[in-house]
Symmetry: C2
Subunit: 474 residues, 2 copies
């Protein structure tokens, strides 16, 4: 256990030095032997650390020479600042903008930088199809009847088994299935909040969360968030007296791609428990880490059942299946009651198909490939952005997930950029979508879940040209 901890700590320490620019592209790393000596670890542990960093594409090995910091062209582009939203709960909804972006998404031939799901070309479609066919015979009544309220047992068992991968130790009875991840969050907010309550979120924040919260009559408090380490703990501490619920995406949040360090997670979980503020943890991107070791979840530090861990397969496997789940801790009864009232049950067939896919061990295999592709995409995007985007552009440093956050010079309005881009069949997600305040108007989110191609590169170039044009015209 001690070793495991050290291993993580050292690997993340080096990774963060690379990401923060302390170590630069081409720098030589200490040797395996030096690492052993400095940290008092075994050769095996030291080698594993380098393998992990290599898997994250942070370092390259040169035979007979050692390890070097790998190509990281994004170092040329600065990181956006920690966000500074107003400290007042606010609900200035960007409805019109969101409607426009989503309505246009249906158009043929668009390059969809605006979504937050992996392209169908990256999904194991043929295998999934087979699982659906299996499911019609595996299920009683072929899935036409209601399943148990808590959800498909096989699926809950497989999710419980996988919980070890993020430091959890769930039982199947701890889980409730839902119709996708957003349905899980929506049920949690309904269970915990009443009109007038305040929910704390990251800033910028996924628009669906903002819409559901305000729709339920909740006030939303957007908190300062670091693009690499996520929610600022100090800001949360100050906000404690004002908030009733916390809803966060600690692992590879959209749109920032930030990932909270373990010690922050631990501190936050105990802080919130002390103040009896439930934490809804949206972990839909957690499995999409670049590298082999996925981050732990806040739920793994939850001793009081105060964390409601929510996830789905919508970002990793099959968005259209609508398969999600909640480990609601001590709020289980309330959640079951709400699921019954609002949904009665979830669709059986797709849950059974996902359960079987997991059971056959195909999921880990698929994830390995998908993670690699996403990380390659990320590096390709960064290269293209570095080459084509105007001076003053800043970008986030995701270590996983599907989102890249781009901050332009203040003179570029991404709402206007959207209108220009859509004419060239490019759809982006303007920054204003991700807040209820007047901010992020010079930002945008790009989805890195497309299949990389010359076409995608060309579209990024077109986007860059438009932004350059806007800047020089201003």
């Amino acid at each position: 256990m001690v070793k495991e901890y050290l291993y993580d700590e050292i690997a993340n320490g080096i990774a963060s030095q690379i990401n923060s620019g302390v170590l630069k592209s081409g720098d030589k790393l200490p040797s395996v032997r030096m690492l052993c000596r400095d940290y008092g670890i075994s050769m095996n542990t030291a080698k594993r650390i380098f393998l992990e960093l290599e898997a994250r594409s942070l370092i390259d090995s040169k035979p007979q020479s050692g390890y070097y910091v790998s190509r990281l062209p994004y170092m040329k582009l600065p990181l956006p600042e920690v966000s500074r939203p107003s400290q007042k709960a606010n609900s200035n909804d960007p409805d019109e903008l969101i409607r426009k972006v989503y309505t246009n998404m249906g158009k043929e031939g668009l390059t969809l930088f605006s979504i937050s799901v992996p392209s169908g070309l990256l999904l194991p479609l043929a295998k999934l199809k087979k699982e659906i066919i299996h499911a019609t015979t595996a299920l009683k009544d072929g899935g036409a009847g209601y399943e148990p309220l808590q959800g498909n047992l096989e699926l809950r068992r497989m999710i419980a088994a996988r919980s070890l991968s993020w430091g959890g130790n769930l039982l199947e009875s701890d889980l409730i299935t839902t119709s996708g991840g957003m349905h899980a969050l929506s049920l949690c907010l309904m269970a915990l909040g009443k009109a007038g309550d305040t929910v704390a979120v990251e800033s910028p924040c996924y628009p669906g969360i903002l819409q559901v919260a305000t729709g339920l009559g909740l006030k939303v408090l957007e908190l300062p968030t670091h693009p690499v380490t996520g929610l600022e703990i100090e800001a949360l501490k100050k906000a404690i007296p004002k908030i009733n619920i916390c809803l966060l995406v600690p692992n590879f949040s959209t749109p920032l791609g930030s990932c909270m360090p373990e010690e922050h997670k631990k501190e936050m979980v105990s802080l919130l428990a002390k103040h009896h503020i439930p934490l809804i943890e949206d972990d839909v991107y957690g499995d999409l880490c670049f590298g082999m070791q996925r981050p732990k979840c806040c739920k793994s530090f939850d001793e009081e059942g105060n964390v409601l861990w929510c996830s789905s397969v919508s970002k990793t496997l099959a968005p259209g299946y609508r398969v999600g789940w909640i480990a609601p801790g001590k709020y289980k009864e309330k959640l079951l009651q709400l699921k019954l009232a609002h949904a009665i049950s979830s669709t059986s067939i797709v849950q059974q198909a996902v359960a079987s896919f997991l059971k056959r061990g195909k999921y880990e295999n698929h994830l390995r490939q998908l993670r690699k592709v996403l990380q390659e995409n990320y590096l390709n995007y960064v290269e293209a952005i570095t080459a084509y985007f105007p001076e003053g552009t800043k970008i986030s440093r995701p270590l996983g997930g599907l989102a890249l956050w781009v901050e332009f010079d203040k003179k570029i309005n991404t709402g206007q950029l959207y209108d220009l881009a859509i004419k060239q069949n490019i759809s982006i997600a303007p920054g204003r979508m991700f807040t209820l305040q007047n901010q992020f108007e010079n930002c945008m989110r790009l989805c890195i879940g497309l299949l990389w191609s010359e076409e995608v590169k060309f579209k990024l170039r077109q986007l860059g040209n438009l932004a350059c044009m806007m800047l020089s015209a201003s």
Copy 2:
């Protein structure tokens, strides 16, 4: 059009005379010729009226003699009174009771009189399985990708085409699909209500509606309801100043099985439109009429887009698929926005399977058979109840749907009856589940959607014995 109207009016007139006991079992009906003369209709129309009444099992033809009122043993049992709930909005939730009933439902070997879905034995499972397999090839990405926000186009087209059967004239663009009927109602309530608003419902009312409404912070006003003709219009008129939304099940509501006459529907729709009170119309049971002619929907009288018509295939075809929909009239934009925020999309595969099932014309065929079975069940239940239940028992007179409402002598508490019955592996739905007030404690709902058998008959007998015992012990 005139003829069509007359045909309905005359058939319903005779049916209501039979149901109210004006015409009794064995009474001879007027001849075809007399009907033509009295109403000035053609021979064909007159014959069609008798065929319709025969199809509803209300009359039998005797060769060379004419038509007679058929076996209707329930005439021996009186009808419950019009409900008289308190005129105050109320929220005394029967949570504990509901949780107990639903938790127990999972037990093996129960006779489930407590549910409100048809047994799997009455569903076309093999055909549905084939449709699921077809769907994986018919859909792009095998259904793994998000479908358009508004829902599967084929499905919406088929539902629009079927709208003629209830007097509607919908276009596919008028419809939004949902994850089942309850999801549809939940989205509508979220779209129209804000905490503190009052929603008017029938009394007794489906528990899910009461739970969702109170969960959203809405006040619930239960209105007097007639067991045959549904909501009392006069009561609604008086309540108008107090209410913001109306949510009704005008066709074969659960638990009463009542069906609003057309003229009531028409009057109500115009009344509510005049006062700008939106009507959420839950029509999940409308297709389950006994007889050939299904009742019209309130939506068919909606000229201002003020009626949100909701339905599903959960009560007719495949509960576990979670396929429902809304025709939200002028609230379409709001509903789309909510669906996006809370659910993103619905499961594609099951929608495609249902669409294809409808398209091949299999649905009408299946409905014909299911309606016949349910009506036969109903008559069998009534016979058993008449034979085995204690004196003073009253029952409703559904002309469709899945529910039979039983009212016992005041001395019988159905909460206690539930506890006794469950020990004999019989699950019932106590009346107290269907209200937020202290009433219906001597009532229960029985599901008539089981496959009739000697076993079911025996279970009804056991239930009757328990009730008799309780009465004589009191």
